[in-house]
């Protein structure tokens, strides 16, 4: 018997669209079996993780609040993932976005006006992009692997947060807690908009998903990014420069992560403290792939991953699974989506025994 993987010539669009759903279903099945096997109520854990947050409407605001940053960061990562410029450090850029916004907040503590929040947002995006810039520079100038440099900058960002909230940016009236002063009302956005339980970030994410969709599928830039990723020589031949793609995709993903970070502080936490880092920057990598690098897919995938976060907390209290459960399920989703990718792009052929002879045919 021989098992072989053959490349498919034409990819089925239906298979491409359905495989993320298959990956989620496989995650549920395998997850139930594993948790059953290690002594929990597996099916119930899966139910609590994936269905309770959807069925219980009082969980929706929580899901929407977690989906917004995931979608924003994942959208930003998409261009880079298409160009095969791998930004693994969105978590750091997300932190810098929050820091940028908090820095403006500290400077504008005693000021008033509707201009403060937009300024915070701009500062957050700029800070996120700035944190991604050295990665692009090092990759283009010295060929430094962007996976390593972007990831390492996450730890620098964590130390920077530590330093600032325990040192110069510490709230003077905060009883020595490692946190900044609470934002003033002029520095905050409402947690919900338009009478629905959705934060402003989710509306922004939806609008940006439409913009990204247009740019990705119709623009000269979007085509160039794809070609740089698929066939670097063809990109050069077509007049696209790989170094431009590295710069632009890193700055876009940094800026988007920064946007997610600053929106998180202005709508949710209202200040910055040591508990701010949440791992959204890493989870967004899963969102990007589960969404098939397609903006609308990413929007849906962001909601699915947000559900798994919220559901993981539910399952902790009801089924008493450990706190890392949500992470395990998220990792399984990434595993199954990448594995199903192999099967969508290739055909599995199993050849049994010896080939038939003419006599056997006749």
């Amino acid at each position: 018997m021989r098992i072989r993987l053959e490349k498919r010539r034409e990819l089925s669009r239906v298979m491409l669209a359905l495989s993320p759903i298959g990956a989620v279903v496989m995650t549920m099945i395998v997850g139930a079996i594993i948790f059953e096997g290690i002594g929990y109520d597996g099916p119930r854990a899966v139910f609590e993780i994936f269905f309770t947050p959807v069925l219980a409407s009082y969980k929706w605001p929580d899901v929407a609040a977690k989906a917004a940053p995931l979608i924003l960061i994942a959208l930003g990562l998409t261009f880079g993932n298409q160009a095969k410029v791998w930004n693994i450090g969105a978590e750091g850029q997300y932190l810098l976005g929050a820091l940028g916004g908090a820095g403006v907040a500290i400077l504008t503590q005693s000021m008033h006006g509707p201009w403060i929040v937009p300024l915070m947002i701009l500062a957050g995006m700029a800070a996120g992009a700035l944190w991604a810039a050295p990665v692009a520079f090092l990759r283009n100038r010295y060929g430094v692997n962007e996976i390593l440099s972007s990831l390492m900058l996450v730890y620098v960002a964590l130390q920077l947060l530590n330093y600032l909230v325990t040192g110069p940016w510490k709230d003077p009236n905060g009883q020595n807690f490692p946190q900044t002063a609470p934002f003033t009302p002029d520095q905050r956005l409402p947690a919900h908009l338009f009478g629905l339980p959705f934060p402003p970030g989710l509306y922004i994410a939806f609008a940006l998903a439409l913009v990204f969709w247009l740019v990705m599928s119709r623009s000269e830039y979007g085509l160039g990014v794809r070609i740089v990723g698929e066939a670097p020589k063809a990109a050069r031949y077509a007049g696209y420069r790989a170094s431009n793609a590295v710069w632009s995709t890193m700055l876009i993903s940094g800026g988007m992560a920064g946007l997610a970070g600053v929106l998180e502080t202005t709508t949710q936490s209202g200040q910055l403290n040591l508990g701010f880092p949440s791992g959204y920057g890493f989870t967004a990598i899963i969102v990007s792939f589960l969404g098939r690098l397609h903006p609308m897919g990413i929007f849906l995938a962001g909601i699915v991953l947000a559900i798994s976060y919220v559901g993981g907390q539910v399952a902790q209290t009801t089924v008493h699974v450990p706190s890392s459960t949500a992470g395990i399920f998220q990792a399984m989703m990434l595993f199954f989506i990448l594995a199903s990718d192999v099967l969508v792009r290739r055909r599995l052929r199993i050849e049994w025994g010896a080939p038939k002879t003419a006599a056997a045919r006749a």
Binding site: S219, L223, E230, K233, R236, E351, P355, K356
Partner: protein, 523 residues
């Protein structure tokens, strides 16, 4: 001849009976019969996609037939793997070599053998084989320093070490100089005289006439004819191959060459990477309506020259001139805007992106020149219409603009790529290997399109390692060797011997080449 009477009676070394192989959607081989006698040089002829490779892969155990029998010396056999094929006595020399550039000849051969030898035994054995067949090759040399002909000899020696009874050669001459081809033929004749059968796959008909005693012709996966090439002409065999009358290239009546349109002036580029070739002081001039051919053995700077002309590698601004103005500092998009188009050698991943649709592959180079782009957005309607136009004008077999480039056969993709550039009506175009690996019908169409483009006043530069193609297509010819161009020759006045010597018939020693050329001129 008494010998041939004995051979006639002997059982065939290899016989295929009703061999069929089906791939999803394609019947690659349909009930094919083939008989190769001991000591016979047997040609396997057919266009690209005729099923030659599939058939050979089944003989060599890479693929298993769906139906039919393989007989070896009269006995049915199952060839389940290349290793099993080698045990039977089948050797194969592939078209694309699998050699490690940084290792020696000896190390490369040792890596490819099933059995383990000591270094000394192996070297003695290699030297014995080299002597026996009069092959020139130093086992201690590092592969990087070898010419393509010498590299091919490594593969031949690797096959001969197993004392094969049948040697399969897949398109062996596509990268050789005329002199190297002659040396190869002598080796093959010697092998055949000692009883080894040779299955020779090629589409170069005059070589088959010169070398082979029998030819089996395939078309569309089916057996078409078996003939004696010595009683056939190139034209008659080509017509059997494509199943239609072959059109000769028609040149427009009274084509006149205009003023200089496309030129290089002392273009030099340092070499890129360990295995690159530096371009040295390259100058040429192509007039409006002229086709200039660049001949040469692959790996002598053709790719580097192409990249310098297309704009992928930057050059001194006044090193490349289009209609008198310097364009060396422009990138590919800028050069296309001025009217210089280019087609690199590699189809997949360079001239086209396999994963993208034909509409987007059209936009790859035509997007600015044909006005698809406004405000940064690509007008997909125009891109689709352009792809449809190319598909129609160049009879590309594809479902439509939505097909991915990767779903097209090599010949069809090449027609699409050439069409994409030609329909942009460039004022000059540089093309590398325009018909490499393309079937005879498609090759004729591509060559005709280039001649027609020239007659509309385009200046054309064609880089090719197929000398026949250049002689058929071009008005004048230069040879590239080690990154330098030879003097320009008029196609009507050149001798094949001189071109062969300029191509580096005397390898590794440019001085010897110069001396040989001078000696030739003295005669």
């Amino acid at each position: 001849m008494a010998d041939s009477a004995i051979l006639q009676q002997a059982k065939p070394r290899l016989e295929l009976r009703g061999v069929t192989k089906r791939f999803p959607g394609v019947l690659a081989n349909d009930n094919v019969n083939l008989k190769v006698k001991p000591g016979e040089i047997h040609a396997l002829l057919g266009e690209n996609g005729a099923g030659k490779s599939t058939l050979v892969k089944m003989i060599y155990g890479v693929l298993a037939p769906d139906a039919g029998e393989i007989l070896w010396n009269g006995d049915p056999v199952q060839v389940t793997s290349p290793r099993a094929a080698r045990r039977l006595g089948v050797g194969m020399v592939f078209q694309h070599f699998s050699l490690f550039e940084a290792l020696t000849v000896l190390e490369n051969i040792a890596l490819g053998l099933d059995a383990k030898f000591s270094q000394r035994e192996l070297e003695a054995e290699i030297r014995r084989v080299l002597d026996l067949y009069g092959l020139k090759l130093d086992p201690r040399r590092i592969v990087t320093t070898l010419s393509v002909g010498e590299r091919q000899r490594i593969e031949i020696v690797r096959a001969l070490l197993l004392n094969p009874k049948l040697l399969i050669m897949d398109e062996p001459t596509s990268v050789l100089t005329p002199q190297e081809v002659e040396q190869l033929f002598e080796t093959l004749r010697k092998l055949a005289a000692q009883g080894c059968s040779i299955l020779y796959i090629s589409h170069k008909l005059h070589e088959i006439i010169a070398l082979c005693e029998t030819a089996t012709i395939l078309r569309g996966g089916k057996f078409v004819a078996e003939c004696d090439p010595r009683n056939e002409t190139s034209k008659s065999m080509a017509e059997l191959m494509i199943g239609a009358n072959l059109k000769e290239i028609s040149r427009g009546p009274g084509r006149t060459l205009g003023a200089e349109k496309f030129a290089a002036r002392n273009l030099s580029l340092p070499k890129h990477g360990d295995f690159g070739v530096a371009l040295k002081d390259i100058s040429f001039s192509v007039r409006a309506g002229e086709i200039l051919g660049v001949a040469g053995v692959a790996g002598n700077g053709q790719n580097e020259l192409m990249e310098a002309l297309s704009g992928e590698a930057g050059a001194r601004d006044d090193a490349i001139l289009l209609e008198g103005s310097p364009i060396g500092a422009l990138n590919p998009t800028g050069r296309r805007a001025r009217g210089l188009c280019a087609v690199p050698e590699e189809r997949n991943g360079h001239a086209a992106v396999a994963e993208l649709t034909l509409a987007l592959n059209g936009a790859l180079t035509a997007r600015r020149r044909m006005g698809f782009v406004s405000a940064g957005l690509i007008n997909m309607g125009r891109a689709r219409a352009y792809a449809t136009k190319v598909i129609g004008a160049f009879t590309v077999k594809a479902l439509g603009y939505q097909s991915t480039a990767g779903s097209l056969s090599g010949g069809n993709l090449q027609k699409f790529i050439m069409g994409r550039e030609i329909l942009q009506e460039p004022s000059a175009i540089a093309v590398s290997q325009p018909t490499w690996g393309v079937d005879a019908g498609a090759a004729a169409a591509i060559r005709q399109a280039l001649v027609d483009l020239a007659s509309r006043g385009c200046a054309i530069l064609v880089i090719s390692s197929d000398l026949d193609e250049l002689l058929e297509l071009c008005d004048s010819l230069v040879v590239i060797n080690l990154g330098s161009l030879s003097r320009v020759m008029k196609v009507g006045e050149v001798s094949i011997e001189e071109i062969g010597l300029l191509m580096g018939g005397v390898h590794g020693d440019p001085q010897a080449t110069v001396e040989m050329t001078e000696a030739l001129h003295a005669h």
